[in-house]
């Protein structure tokens, strides 16, 4: 126990060393290196097509890197499949929300809960708890296909949380949410972070980025363009150039 705690303060939770991904001739992620300590909230920003989602897929194993080394708690994980990475502590959402439409809202979250619980009742209780955290507990018995876009995104978060992950990767979960919902997610992320959960968040809304990021990574054309606190990074002329020059945001 003590060793674990000591370990986690010295070795980074995740580390990427010169990770690249090519799709044919397209260099979607180029030579990206960074690390995250346990307990951080890091935002990943960048113009459309910068390679943010691709980087997520490399981290959680949906894609294999063309080059580079990925580690988790000091251990190389490049050869682990997505489900194996989920089991060691990776939880994630998808940019295009992936609802299991034949199931109720609660059952969707149960799919994540089964990672920790074998029994239906225990999984249901854990899933219900996750739904409460994202404010969907009232909709637990509804068919997941009936949910609004914003609710679906929150359900994705609940499914990831019910896995009891060490690090949660959120891919634009705020898109399509109204202001109150955004506020709720921000305070949820903060609250869970206070309990020790690490977050890597892709986010276009810069207000949100400022609100909770301890550190910001900027990706542009697959490359890490800047890294630092939100204020520093957003004042960086290269970053402004990348945003204005590419997608006019």
């Amino acid at each position: 126990m003590n060793m674990n705690v000591a370990n986690s303060s010295t070795t980074p939770l995740i580390e990427l060393d010169r990770v690249s991904k090519r799709f044919g001739g397209l260099q979607a992620v180029a030579d990206v290196s960074f690390s995250m300590r346990s307990g951080e909230i890091v935002s990943l920003i960048g113009p459309n097509g910068a390679g943010k989602t691709t980087l997520f897929n490399l981290i959680t194993g949906q894609l294999q890197p063309s080059e580079g080394v990925l580690s988790f708690e000091g251990r190389e994980i490049g050869n682990l499949k997505p489900h194996q990475r989920a089991r060691i502590g990776f939880g994630r959402t998808f940019q295009i929300s992936q609802t299991l439409t034949s199931m109720s809202v609660l059952e969707n979250a149960m799919i994540g809960a089964f990672l920790q619980e074998k029994e239906l009742a225990a999984a249901a209780a854990r899933a219900q708890h996750a739904l409460t955290l994202v404010g969907l507990d009232h909709a637990a018995k509804r068919r997941s296909g009936e949910l609004t876009l914003g609710e679906r995104r929150r359900l994705e978060v609940a499914r990831a949380l019910s896995m009891n992950p060490k690090i949660v990767l959120l891919d634009e979960v705020m898109a399509g949410l109204n202001e109150t919902e955004v506020e709720e997610i921000i305070s949820l992320v903060r609250k869970l972070n206070a309990e020790g959960v690490t977050f890597l968040v892709i986010e276009h809304n810069l207000k949100v980025v400022r609100a909770f990021s301890q550190r910001v990574l900027v990706l542009n054309r697959g490359q890490l363009l800047a890294e630092g606190t939100a204020d520093d990074v957003l004042a960086n002329p290269d970053v402004i150039e990348a945003y204005l020059g590419r997608s006019g945001q």
Binding site: A86, R92, L100, T101, M103, M110, K141, G196
Partner: protein
Amino acid sequence: MTAASGRAFDGAAPSRSLSNYGVVGFRVELLRLIVAMAILGLIVAFYLGDTFTLNILATTFLFAGLATAWNIIGGLGGQFSLGHSVFFAIGAYVTAGFYMRLGVSPWFALAPAAVLAAIVSALVSFPVFRLRGPFFAIATMALTEVVLSLALYFESVTGGARGISVPFRRGFANMIFTDRLSYALLMMGFLAITLLVLAYIARSRLGYELRAIRDNDRTAEAAGINVVRTKLIGMAISAALMAIGGGLYMMYVRVADPPTLLSLFDIGVKVALITLIGGIGTIYGPLLGALLVVPLESMLRATLGGVFPGSNLVVLGIILILTALYLRKGIAGAAEGIYTRIRKGRRT
């Protein structure tokens, strides 16, 4: 302590009864299953002396059981296999082989038959599971043809084109009876076992994992589900039950050639169609589908078969089209819809 864990929540969650969550557990399902079997028992009791009907009931229960077995991987797991006749045939050949060559009672031969089918299913599925949707279905269809050629070639096991005939030696140990009631009850027992297995899986973690894979395998995988392993388990259980059905069929008809046992249409496609008509992915859908399709088909064959050969296929096709048009979730889905509407109506 919890704060240092670095995980979303470690605390033991309070346990409430499943019904509070709108989730059906195995115990509730078991009660429903007992009611369903009791109803079938009453039907059998009603036709006790009627040999013709008892024969139809035996076939109906057999196909209901086969479709229920198929539904484990085809319905819950979403792997639309059209090659399940392969496992059916394995069951038939292993049972007949053990019985006729080694004198092993068919009751005991069912176990190795089930095990062999499970192993074969895992071996052939492993490469085929990479294929999605229609490609998977086509590959399993092709598998049927390959195995059919093999069956015709290995005459020593299958009797080649002549097929196998099991001599009539009545007795419980030989699973050969003179009365039709015994067969109806035998097939009902088989159906009960397949339903029990399907219900148990559907109301447990494995069933949820299979459904998650069917709905979206990317999400399933990201939630920590080993997609390939889960599909293999579902397939192996499904194939094992299919083989038991094949063994029972062999002892029921006592004469079978490869084209019959490995019939794409009469076994492989039919179990899938029955399930689709009854309600794919539901627990009682395959049974409801079989109750509609098999008796209808038998009667058509008895009345029109001589005049218009293949008329049973036409009727089956029409039923399927009607189901696809009007009952998207099959008979079971429609029944559930009506039930929820009545309950909602009562509440307001």
